[in-house]
Subunit: 387 residues, 2 copies
């Protein structure tokens, strides 16, 4: 059997196994990042033209590209519809970016921790992933300058708004400073914003790509967290120098994004019904976040530290007494609780023990307290055994 | 700008330019491979459950996988639902296969000519594409044995039923012989069958993968030619040794295929309404094929040779007096006719002058004669200028 060299880097299925176990009836799952089922909007298909069944353009539906460009401009991103590429979920934007930039050994720069599935696809293509240490308001700027200077990475991948998994949001000042450094060193920015709309305290600062003067950039978003993930509709907006390459890579990957989903998204973008839906969604998630905070204080106050997130879907816990949280999984699942160990969110997992990512949107409030009580007990048992 | 090495292999946009030009009002296009607009079935969405909007499984919808496996078993392919992976169009199956097998310089074996977009993605990943000469009933078996023996390619990619672009269909004997050779040398088969259902003379022989005893295989299909390409729903079925790798590659590429399209496909698979639709479709395309044959005889009898295809969407013309057909494009478009030059369908285009791929399903019968008359005149002018 002669597979490609890249296949040796396909990650083990730990995460798939967790998510599969989380589907078992009776399991209280803090593991996934799924929108709440009750919050999926009812959508109407009756008016969709038959022509949406025909092959479409690799770029995406023209009207949808216009609408997405208008939304981005409203956020301060100077762009035209011609820079918008509709993709099959924002994960595909990462696949295309990996193809565009990564050869085996190519150095790239990532937040530590960072989004698991980004790490997975970048490593699959052979990237040498450099970790950028984070502070409460964004990257450590001294470390960022150091890495840009020493390594000249092919790109930097950032999730500045309600980061997955840490939940943190960059300050205005850090956004400006990051943009200035990337301009200074001419390093491409990939800015991933799936959670921007899930803000519980009003607006968030403008995207970093809107602050760049000359560095190349890719800004990517999705309707998966706001509308319907099952549509598989995301998008990227790229600086004009990158767009033609990304378009050809999209065409080679799957010709074009499904038009049925694109049509549905277009029915919502910019509409009052979307604004109303987002308000309902934010209220719902905010309430769940608050209940989660209370339950955490009850069961984890002596075990872990955390910041209450102002948006997104996750709490990120740091154990006061670190241990490899992957070793807690079997025990937790044995008492019908699923969670996401923190180690796989780092390029160098074995140097980052002691974090847990907990989703607060999925488990019903009535089960929450019991679920966290059991999880805390699992941690206590493991720590007692360690001593 | 430091792109990956692979980006230097991104093909020029000749084909995109042809297809874009073909969209111009007034252009008679023989270039594309689009299903006839009039033949897109009206689909109903009213009964789709809200839950289809949620994230789904990377493998695909369980009921759809069952239905696709049952269809494949009916064709003689011994498989289970657990071997079925739903993908975002069969082009994605090729992207995943490329990731699984191709490093820079990896040798693979392809029909000459072969499907343009397959060549594109395999070359993007750096494949060294070996060309397999074809005869009217399938590959030249002496040449096949020779290449398997000398090169041990990572896989062979075949389109045995109404091949794109040549329209040819392998005989029963050739299918058996190809399977036996692949078993003998242990070379993986990727068998692509988008056109199987578009048969104008009744059934076609069983897939080659159903004849393998021990070689690994990937069988891929799509609903794009039979139902609706805009759904972007295709599938692959793989031997059990390959499936887990392909599944993880799918997950890394775009998490999962859109569920809305999957749900719609499930409403049709195995139904009487699909059988009725396919019959209508075959009758429609057969009539267009026959009209095309008549018009070709009028205008091209002295210029080219061809076989009347028994299925699929294309005629493949071989000029009696070869020339680089890419040089005819500007002239043809100037008289509002688009076609697909044959050269890009070969790994070594400059050694294969003198073929044209003509789609017979798109141009309305009333325009057909004038379109082919103009195209023949373009060929005559070029040949006269050559002398």
């Amino acid at each position: 059997m002669a597979f490609s060299e890249r296949v040796t880097r396909l990650k083990s299925s730990l995460i798939r196994e967790i998510l599969a176990a989380a589907q078992r009836p009776g399991v209280m799952s803090f593991a996934g990042g799924l929108p709440a089922e009750a919050m999926l909007p009812k959508v109407d298909w009756a008016d969709m033209p038959v022509g949406m069944g025909q092959y479409g353009m690799s770029e995406g539906e023209p009207a949808l590209r216009e609408a997405l460009a208008a939304e981005a401009r409203a956020l301060g991103v100077d762009c035209q519809a011609s820079q918008v590429l509709v993709v099959s979920g924002s994960q595909q934007a990462l696949d295309l970016a990996a193809k565009l930039y990564i050869d085996q050994g190519t150095q790239i720069l990532l937040e530590a921790p960072t989004y698991l599935a980004a790490l997975q696809i970048f490593q699959l293509f052979g990237a040498d992933c450099l970790a950028l240490p984070m502070q409460a308001d964004g990257p450590d700027l001294v470390e960022l300058r150091d890495r840009l200077q020493r390594h000249r990475p092919a790109f930097i991948y950032l999730i500045p708004t309600f980061q997955n998994p840490s939940g943190l949001r960059y300050s205005e000042a850090k956004r400006d400073a990051v943009a200035a450094l990337l301009d200074e060193f001419g390093v491409t920015l990939i800015e991933d914003e799936p959670y921007r709309e899930l803000s519980f305290d009003g607006g968030s600062a403008q995207p970093i790509v809107s602050r760049l003067r000359n560095a190349s950039w890719i800004y990517t978003g999705t309707v998966s967290k706001t509308l319907l993930p099952g549509l598989r509709v995301g998008y990227l907006i790229a600086s004009p120098d990158l767009f033609p390459h990304l378009l050809r890579l999209k065409q080679a990957a799957d010709l074009h994004t499904n038009r049925v989903g694109q049509w549905q998204v277009l029915q919502w973008l910019g509409s009052d019904k979307l604004q109303l839906h987002l308000k309902t969604l934010r209220d719902y998630y905010r309430t769940r976040r608050d209940a989660f905070q209370v339950a955490l204080e009850t069961h984890f106050a002596d075990l872990a530290d955390w910041h209450k997130p102002d948006g997104g879907l996750f709490f990120w816990l740091t154990l006061k007494q670190p241990l490899d949280t992957r070793t807690l999984l079997a025990e937790a699942l044995a008492v019908d609780v699923a969670f996401m160990p923190g180690e796989p969110f780092f390029p160098d997992p074995d140097r980052h023990h002691g974090h847990l990512r907990l989703n607060f949107s999925h488990v019903a409030p009535g089960q929450l307290d019991e679920g966290l009580r059991r999880l805390a007990q699992v941690v206590r048992n493991a720590q007692a055994a360690q001593v």
